[in-house]
């Protein structure tokens, strides 16, 4: 081989290493150090400023206003005939949607052995748990008399009456509880080895904290075997649970014979919508982690934004397909009230939101994510992700309060105007970000052992004169 060829090959390998985390291994100790350094870095004044602002918003928007709502009753909110379902349920559906990305990234990509998932599975899994916390809060806000929430649980009250298990609202409770518990367990299991790593490197209260959470994990063959089997079971089993959750949420609407809701395609339409908003939120979280935490540009690279960007593009196309399918059938059906509703969506006072939804969910992602260079630009893809989330929130707003305005009794038609819901909704967003900020200081956001496992599996191999990357199946 000539020097020129050798040099070209070497620079090709170097280029691949720069681009792909899996081809750019560092010693495990170094990676541990980088992750711990990111976690233990002393918060700057900017961090404290953001933290304080968010905490104030949560205290005022979420808890103070919720207290007012509880004391004065649901009249404080804008819900009244015919709009009994308002922003609280919009937020419930929205946050459950956000939670889907965690499972999608962690479970589906794990099952299909997509290697790019490795450094950000935990950040995505956290999104599932934190998103479901907001969804739970939103349901309780909608409930009004939240102290009676336990009436939902399937046990008889003093009159020997059980919750109606034929009702989609009761299925909601079962599905969301199942999903919240299973996603939290699925977050915790792969975290155990990283907590043990943190335990080995900590002192003071942190040492005790990680020691308790690491449960005495050492990394014996038996412990890894049990963990591996459990994670495989979780990865396969949590996927149908994820699909069931949003399908059941869609049945809250589709099972009612209302114009615009009574659609057989609502289940998959809701699931793809959930993935759409979830992936958008996931990419925004990744960009923030990479941009604000130390050493994260080693773990989270352009390739990850590119890969998630491709998924976002495909999911956007899927959402467009289901949206058009649902719209087409309703439009073609010719039902008088459905026609009225469709006209109200497009040309009514909230028409701007309907068009903005299409721009945010279809036009923006298609215009930007087709380009590989743009797709690999973190701030740009994150912005697209946030825009998609605005679009998906609009979509839920149109489906719920805007759609219930139009019913079969025109004398009741009245547009929903939110009241106390607005600061409370902002409070849930603030709490979601706040939980992430706290998590970033308490748990290793990068699953270091999974990254190392992936790096062990990748190597360069020569085929003829070309050097290619091969991946061994170690799991």
């Amino acid at each position: 081989m000539s020097d020129k060829q050798h040099h070209a090959e070497h620079s090709h390998e170097e280029h691949l290493r720069e681009k792909h985390l899996m081809l750019d291994p560092l010693p495990r100790g170094k990676m541990n150090e980088m992750v711990m350094e990111a976690m233990l870095a002393k918060p700057t004044w900017k961090w404290w400023l953001v933290f304080s602002i968010l905490a104030a918003i949560v205290a005022y928007g979420l808890f103070y206003k919720w207290g007012i709502l509880i004391m004065k009753g649901q009249g404080e909110a804008g819900v009244m005939r015919p709009d009994y379902w308002g922003i609280f349920l919009v937020n419930t559906v929205f946050w459950i949607g956000i939670s889907h990305a965690g499972t999608f990234i962690s479970a589906i990509l794990r099952v299909f052995k997509a290697e790019f998932r490795r450094p950000f599975t935990r950040a995505a899994e956290l999104m599932t748990t934190f998103g479901l916390v907001q969804a739970g809060f939103s349901v309780f806000m909608h409930m009004g008399r939240v102290w009676l929430a336990y009436w939902l649980f399937p046990y008889p009250n003093q009159r020997m009456m059980w919750p109606n298990l034929h009702s989609p609202l009761t299925w909601d409770l079962l599905a969301i509880t199942t999903y919240l518990l299973s996603s939290t367990m699925y977050l915790f299991l792969p975290l155990i080895p990283d907590l043990a790593m943190a335990r080995d490197r900590s002192t003071g209260w942190r040492k005790n904290f990680y020691k308790i959470l690491a449960l005495g994990f050492r990394g014996t063959e038996g412990e890894w075997t049990h963990l591996r089997h459990a994670m495989n079971i979780f990865a396969f089993a949590i996927i149908p649970v994820m699909f069931s959750v949003h399908t059941i949420v869609s049945w809250d609407f589709a099972a009612a014979t209302r114009p615009g809701w009574n659609s057989t395609i609502f289940g998959p339409y809701f699931v793809i919508g959930a993935l759409h908003s979830g992936m958008g939120a996931a990419i925004a979280v990744l960009a923030v982690i990479r941009g604000t935490m130390k050493n994260m540009s080693y773990f989270i690279r352009g390739e990850h934004f590119d890969a998630v960007g491709k998924l976002m593009l495909i999911i956007s196309m899927g959402w467009a397909y289901f949206f058009f399918n649902d719209y087409m059938v309703q439009w073609y059906g010719g039902d008088k009230w459905t026609q009225q509703l469709l006209h109200f969506h497009e040309a009514g006072p909230m028409g701007w939101m309907w068009f903005a939804m299409l721009v945010c969910n279809i036009v923006v992602p298609w215009a930007i994510l087709w380009n590989p260079k743009w797709r690999a630009t973190p701030w740009l893809v994150a912005t697209v992700g946030l825009i998609i989330n605005v679009g998906m929130w609009f979509e839920r707003y149109i489906i719920i309060p805007v759609s219930v305005t139009i019913n079969r009794m025109p004398f009741t038609w009245k547009l929903y105007k939110p009241g106390i819901e607005v600061p409370m909704s902002i409070g849930t967003v603030a709490l979601f970000i706040l939980l992430y900020m706290i998590a970033s200081k308490l748990i290793p956001l990068i699953p270091v052992w999974e990254v190392q496992e992936g790096q062990m599996a990748h190597e360069f191999k020569k085929f003829g004169r070309e050097t290619v990357v091969t991946v061994s199946e170690l799991e």
Partner: protein, 176 residues
């Protein structure tokens, strides 16, 4: 003086650790007396060890059956416990589709909860007693713990060092 001694050998990588396992076996250390601890999941096949037994899938299956049972109770039996039975529209008293939803969710919840608990049961978590361990393991070192006859200690130590062990020393339980 004890006839047996607990030792640990620290290896920088998987290959010498796998060779060490083979060598220890050749030197008369039984597989039951060895344990390999690593910071990444190293499969038994990579180490040339017999497959580890785990009951996690069986426990998961048990939990699924239990969850299914709870689902059957809620879907089939609970409706008969109402003092005033609820008839929803023209649906049967125990209609099929809603029953399927309840059965599915309860089965999955039972399976996943028991899978999680299965890891705890099988790994004896939580365990906060002092244990044989080295913090370097989570830095990527692979440590082979083994028990051998006291008389064999020097011979085995030399053999493992020749195979690339960074150190071979007595293993002592310590607080994690």
């Amino acid at each position: 003086m004890a006839e047996k001694v607990d030792l640990l050998a620290v290896f920088p990588d998987l290959e010498p650790a796998a060779n060490a396992v083979e060598r220890l076996r050749a030197l008369g250390v039984h597989d039951d007396r060895m344990n390999v601890i690593s910071g990444v999941p190293v499969t038994e096949a990579m180490l040339g060890r017999a497959p580890q037994w785990t009951n996690v899938p069986r426990i998961a299956m048990g939990g699924a059956i239990l969850g299914f049972g709870v689902g059957v109770f809620l879907a089939y039996i609970a409706p008969f416990l109402y003092p005033y039975p609820i008839q929803v529209s023209t649906q049967g008293f125990v209609p099929g589709p809603p029953t399927a939803v309840v059965l599915f969710e309860m089965t999955m919840l039972g399976m996943l909860l028991s899978t999680f608990l299965g890891v705890f049961l099988e790994s004896f978590f939580p365990n906060y007693r002092p244990m044989k361990y080295l913090p370097e393991i989570s830095d990527g070192k692979i440590v082979v713990f083994f028990e051998c006859a006291y008389a064999e200690e020097n011979k085995i130590t030399d053999a493992l060092k020749k195979l690339g062990a960074e150190s071979v020393r007595p293993a002592e339980a310590q607080p994690l």
